[in-house]
């Protein structure tokens, strides 16, 4: 008895299966990104791609390298905890090219009110004013120095501001 007498059809079937397997393997290699599965069920390179985005906010540590005079001023007042870019906006481009990219001039009437406009939901200890009747339309920096906001006595008498 010869087991392998009539196996031609089986060989044909085997060839078809092997070819299909090869096609599958080739397609899979071509379609699946090479870093897929590096850390989990996702493209490992995606992590670096997200991390490669350029920054807009430079961070206060960089500002303090150059603007030491402002740092000294801020240390004397309550705004020491406020980072530079909270008011001055994103300055990464200014850090790259301090000569030609200058921060915009700020309008204290808008800027100060963002934080200090009175609102019942703000924490009770936080200094708040109703800007409409606090300054009679004067810009905040007429009396307050933004980097060191507590009013010196002379300036207060001159402008007639009230707490």
């Amino acid at each position: 008895m010869n087991l392998f007498k009539d196996i031609e059809h089986l060989i044909r079937l085997a060839v078809v299966i092997v070819v299909l397997l090869l096609v599958f393997v080739v397609l899979r290699v071509a379609v699946v990104p090479h870093s897929f599965g590096e850390y989990g069920h996702y493209r490992g390179d995606a992590i670096q791609e997200v991390a490669a985005r350029p920054i807009s906010f430079a961070g206060h540590a960089v500002c303090e390298d150059c603007h030491t005079d402002v740092v000294d001023q801020k240390k004397l007042g309550k705004h020491v905890v406020v980072s530079c870019e909270a008011c001055h906006g994103a300055q990464a481009r200014h850090v790259e090219d301090p000569g030609s990219v200058k921060p915009a001039k700020l309008d204290t009437a808008i800027l100060c009110a963002r934080c200090h406009e009175a609102n019942s939901a703000k924490p009770k200890g936080f200094p708040q004013v109703a800007t409409a009747d606090h300054s009679a339309g004067l810009a905040c920096d007429t009396c307050h120095q933004p980097h060191r906001p507590k009013i010196e006595t002379a300036a207060k008498n001159e402008a007639g501001g009230r707490k």
Partner: protein, 243 residues
């Protein structure tokens, strides 16, 4: 070896494959940053939040978030004395331009900043059919926008409503915890500009991070703890009415 026409033709496919890899380039890797040495989280101190909207504006600028969509936003809660279970919650423009005074000054009023909770067991990554969103080895939930289909499963799955479809790219988008900043040793844009320190980036794998002492000494909660998402945005002083 002479370059015959036949040999040149045989080399061409190989050269084409090599050129494809050259064009793809190697993505810029942050120096000295090891994925396995960090586990990022955030601390939000509700009694310190003044609802100024600095975080929302900074986030939009840093991450180019489209107008009308928010990766982080601020909610104002107004809890009337007799309805702690049904607080009034509002967030005009995500709190980007601050909040107008509330008509009813009574009851309890406070701000709650919200953002992606960067869940350790996040529902949004589990539903992605193609593996386009994932928890990175350093604990940040990210979206691979080159791989995302825009099917919106993850937008529905997030119990905190932190995802949206970017109308320009038609892919899912969310807070990356400023991944491009924290891998360079900076803090997130929202934490950078927060004037009262109500937001703090924290690294739970760094034993010297002040977060550990803070968590030991304060009563800190996460949002929707019953959903067991492993949320890593910790809220201090959160009212029971916050959802």
């Amino acid at each position: 070896m002479d370059i015959t026409r036949r040999r040149l033709l045989m080399l061409l496919p190989a050269a084409a494959m090599a050129w494809k890899y050259v064009q793809a380039g190697t993505p810029e890797a942050a120096p000295n940053y090891k994925l396995t040495e960090h586990w990022w989280a955030m601390l939000i101190d509700i009694p310190k939040c003044i609802g100024c909207g600095s975080c929302v504006r900074a986030c939009a600028e840093e991450n180019d978030v489209p107008e009308g969509y928010y990766r982080t936003w601020i909610e104002r809660y107004h809890v009337a004395d007799w309805k702690i279970e049904r607080p009034d919650v509002e967030s005009p423009d995500g709190g980007k331009n601050g909040f107008p005074p509330h008509a009813d000054e009574g009851g309890k009023n406070f701000f709650v900043p919200k953002l992606c909770n960067h869940c350790a067991d996040s529902p949004c990554t589990q539903v992605c059919p193609v593996g386009a969103t994932f928890v990175s080895p350093d604990g940040v939930v990210l979206v691979d926008k080159n791989y995302c289909l825009g099917c919106r499963y993850c937008v529905q799955a997030c119990p905190y409503g932190c995802r949206f479809i970017n109308p320009k790219t038609n892919t899912a988008e969310k807070c990356t915890l400023c991944y491009h900043r924290i891998t360079k040793g900076l803090t997130t844009a929202c934490c950078e500009v927060c004037p009262t320190g109500a937001r703090q980036l924290a690294d739970l794998k760094n034993p010297k991070d002040p977060i550990h002492e803070y968590l030991r000494t304060h009563t800190v909660q996460v949002l929707k703890p019953h959903m067991a998402t492993g949320s890593k945005v910790f809220y201090n002083g959160m009212d029971g009415s916050v959802r």
